[in-house]
Symmetry: C2
Subunit: 132 residues, 2 copies
């Protein structure tokens, strides 16, 4: 699902050596502030996302949550799976005491922005990136 994506196309390479991806998975799995979720139905992966908890000084010293890499299998879009996934992330972030859930989405993802606004997200910020 990470490779089958309009914006990320060409960015990832799953055809050859997967060692870097496996190593990254292990790092995330070992980190208590990072979790990769797979949305599963009877053994079939339908969606995935990464949730990060970040301690901060703002908002009276609150934790915030950040969700990244939200993907739903292309053949299963429009069924409400994405909304269920975000609802689950909201619940997990609240349970952890986070005061805000953040995400950035490429400006080309117009459907995604409409989707997140419908769920109550406010597009209040510019998401700026510098490749290193």
């Amino acid at each position: 699902m990470l490779a089958d994506d309009e914006v990320a196309r060409g960015r990832e390479d799953f055809s050859g050596d997967m060692a870097a991806y496996h190593a990254a998975f292990d790092v995330i799995a070992a980190d208590p502030n990072n979790t990769l979720y797979v949305w599963d139905h009877e053994g079939t992966a339908m969606g995935c996302m990464q949730l990060t908890f970040i301690p901060g000084m703002s908002y009276h010293g609150s934790w915030i949550a950040k969700v990244e890499g939200v993907r739903v299998d292309r053949s299963l879009r429009g069924l409400g799976i994405g909304e269920q996934m975000i609802d689950a992330i909201v619940a997990k972030s609240r349970a952890r005491g986070c005061k805000q859930l953040q995400l950035t989405t490429n400006k080309r993802r117009v459907d995604a922005q409409r989707f997140y606004k419908r769920l109550g997200f406010e597009a209040s910020h510019e998401g700026m990136k510098l490749d290193l």
Copy 2:
């Protein structure tokens, strides 16, 4: 500096019990993926920012860096301190092996967006937030 800010005004409260801020500081200080930096000149705090390292699956399983709460003392703006601070963050992020440096900045911070664009950041994403 976090309280003396146009956008955050009213959000923080440093007048009373500081226990929540002190606790948050201790959590950040103990976290190897989070660092609060104070830009100091001969014992005077001139600026501050928080840097977070996040492991990820994208970009061939790369770490990314996120900088938040970038503030320069109001009386010291326009002297190039912010640029020195971001240069330092870029160097630290590269040294850690991060492939990208991200930030979100409130759309009302027009000067900040101009500043980051001048340093090479691309405003490619919508930064969306949901209060919990």
